[in-house]
């Protein structure tokens, strides 16, 4: 049967245009089923957490009816709210540190890609990214103690400062690689053109280089922020009693008892993360629309 050759002779009232679509083969269908199952798997525990945040029971694991009590608890429990405050504070500042240091390094690495020491730096940044967090954590703890207590480097006795420094390390590497990818895609002749038109070096950076790398810097900073919010291992080692970020509080609760309030606050934090991610997407998409080029969102978030 061909829908194209006999447009009017068939009397059947069936929806004719549908038949024109090529039917997907069995392999595609199986892949599709696999993909959907995969997504269900990925979302399953997240949905469980969201569902259990409406648990009216005393313990998180045993469901005792629907209610918003957990949210009220979460927002009034000072341990939780101060934990969230510490998390957000640390997230913002570590993201700032990473954005500044990483952007500078990203420009350098992209523009001096041939130099040998750039190779060493790239290797070091790669090492930062592949070192297990636990090794980082156990090495930073004695180092902070040594610097802060023994060598009198007192700012490092503050839990907040320690958290910001610790979280910034991985984020620096992330921002560097994102900015490098962006800069590598930009022709150096743009900067030459600015020079040609009379712009001295600093103006050139402010007029041309920075605006063009800005989407990468912003998305790198927002990613750093979410990484910092997520961080548990480093935080639980370097934090001090007066500055306990939310994940560390949760991790401590795992050993004693988990309450629905934790699920409630986690759900709120998830929303916060999603907003940050949405911002990354908006930044990248608008910059691509405006300039007609840019990185794919996926490539950026996957790190290059």
């Amino acid at each position: 049967m061909s829908a194209a050759t006999a447009p009017t002779t068939t009397a059947s009232p069936g929806p004719a245009p549908v038949a024109r679509r090529r039917r997907p083969d069995a392999g595609t269908v199986l892949l599709g089923i696999w993909g959907v199952l995969g997504f269900l798997f990925l979302f399953f525990p997240v949905l469980v957490i969201v569902a259990y945040s409406f648990n009216e029971g005393r313990l998180l694991q045993s469901y005792r009816g629907f209610g918003l009590g957990a949210y009220e608890d979460a927002l009034t429990n000072s341990a939780i709210t101060s934990g969230v405050q510490v998390s957000i504070y640390v997230g913002i500042f570590s993201a700032l540190v990473a954005a500044v240091l990483g952007s500078l390094a990203g420009v350098a690495v992209a523009r001096r890609a041939g130099a040998r020491w750039i190779g060493w730096l790239t290797a070091l940044l790669g090492l930062v990214m592949v070192t297990p967090e636990i090794v980082n954590a156990v090495s930073l703890l004695p180092w902070f103690v040594t610097l802060g207590t023994d060598w009198g480097f007192t700012p490092l006795n503050s839990g907040i400062v320690r958290l910001i420094v610790a979280h910034s390390l991985f984020s620096c590497a992330v921002v560097t690689f994102i900015v490098r990818a962006r800069m590598a895609g930009l022709s150096e002749s743009l900067e030459e053109a600015a020079a040609d038109l009379g712009a001295p070096p600093l103006r050139r950076f402010l007029d041309i280089t920075f605006p063009l790398m800005r989407p990468a810097v912003i998305s790198g900073a927002l990613l750093s922020f979410t990484l910092s919010l997520d961080n548990t291992v480093l935080s639980s080692f370097v934090s001090t009693a007066d500055a306990t970020p939310f994940p560390v509080y949760v991790f401590a609760s795992v050993r004693s008892s988990l309450r629905p309030a934790i699920a409630a606050m986690s759900t709120l934090m998830l929303l916060l993360t999603l907003v940050a991610l949405a911002l990354v997407a908006v930044v990248l998409i608008t910059s691509r629309k405006r300039t007609g080029e840019g990185m794919s969102l996926a490539s950026t978030l996957a790190g290059g």
Binding site: A108, P142, V254, A263, L297, S299
Partner: protein, 308 residues
């Protein structure tokens, strides 16, 4: 002017621009101070000792004693279990992720691909600890799963605090890290290449083996690396899901610092873990090269001299 005369106005700097390389200096200093230096310190500690209950470390006598001590039967058991969980987990991630990434990149219409990537990212950016707790809820004896099992008369299953629970947890936790690099590589795969391959007479399987696979191999390697390395050092997943039966090396290291206050031994264990990871990665890189070399050899087309 003679041709060989040395230039009077010798190079005044190769280019007009100042050296942007200096911009990398702050990061280099930052990392040397807060990444390399601390690592050197625990390396130093690992050659020391814990002389008494109240002192965390002492380096007055240097020895390899802590490394010998680290290889006690408990540590070795846990280490081997960690290795097993990591290898099995990494392979499972690849097996689950590849068809997903392929479906997303090749079969899904372009306008849905962004959404699909976002859907992978949402659970990934949910707090690692919190999503692990999600599994703890599911696997706990009071969960709906256990309720269902009891209703069917199968009794209360022991799911939580087993190696299996940890295995499930790590596969879940690191799956996005496998999907994303695979997706990125597959997305860049030009569909015209496959068309060309089909045009040149290869069937679907042959096209996949001879065109798709060689191109995505780097993506696969990246995914394996991204999953294996953090998995090997994971500390959260076994803490939440593993209990005593499913503990991993990360916890052993942590407990030396947190509980036993034996920095010397803990440092040695951390170094052992680090060395093991690097060794596996190097081994894998060699294997990867070997596979590529074999493929190249297999597909090698010699140019016959004097024919053209």
């Amino acid at each position: 002017m003679t041709a060989v005369a040395l230039p009077a106005t010798r190079t005044r700097g190769r280019r007009f621009r100042w050296n942007v390389g200096v911009l990398a200096a702050p990061v280099a200093v930052w990392l040397l101070f807060f990444f390399v230096a601390p690592f050197v310190v625990i390396l130093w500690y690992s050659f020391g000792d814990k002389p008494s209950l109240y002192i965390t470390h002492d380096n007055s006598v240097l020895s390899l004693g802590r490394y010998v001590e680290a290889f006690n039967p408990t540590f070795v058991t846990v280490f081997l279990r960690t290795l097993q969980i990591s290898v099995v987990g990494t392979i499972l991630c690849l097996v689950i992720a590849f068809p997903m990434a392929y479906w997303m990149a090749v079969k899904l219409p372009a306008r849905f691909q962004g959404i699909a990537v976002a859907l992978v990212l949402v659970p990934y950016w949910t707090n690692f600890l919190v999503r692990t707790i999600g599994w703890q809820i599911v696997l706990s004896p009071t969960s709906f799963l256990a309720d269902a099992s009891r209703a069917l008369g199968l009794g209360t299953p022991q799911l939580l605090y087993t190696t299996g629970a940890v295995q499930l947890g790590v596969v879940y936790n690191y799956l996005p890290l496998m999907i994303l690099p695979l997706y990125v590589t597959l997305e860049r795969l030009d569909p015209r290449l496959l068309e060309a391959s089909r045009d040149l007479g290869a069937n679907a399987f042959e096209s996949f083996r001879r065109v798709t696979l060689p191109i995505v191999l780097p993506g696969v390697a990246a995914g394996l690396l991204l999953v294996f390395v953090p998995l090997m050092g994971d500390y959260i997943t076994p803490s939440v899901l593993g209990g005593a039966a499913g503990s991993m090396v990360g916890q052993q290291v942590a407990s030396q610092f947190n509980v036993a206050q034996n920095w010397a031994l803990g440092s040695a264990m951390a170094i052992v873990l680090m060395v093991a990871i690097i060794a596996v990665v190097v081994l894998f890189a060699l294997l990867f090269r070997l596979v590529k070399a074999i493929i190249d050899r297999f597909e090698h087309v010699a140019i016959v001299e004097g024919e053209a």
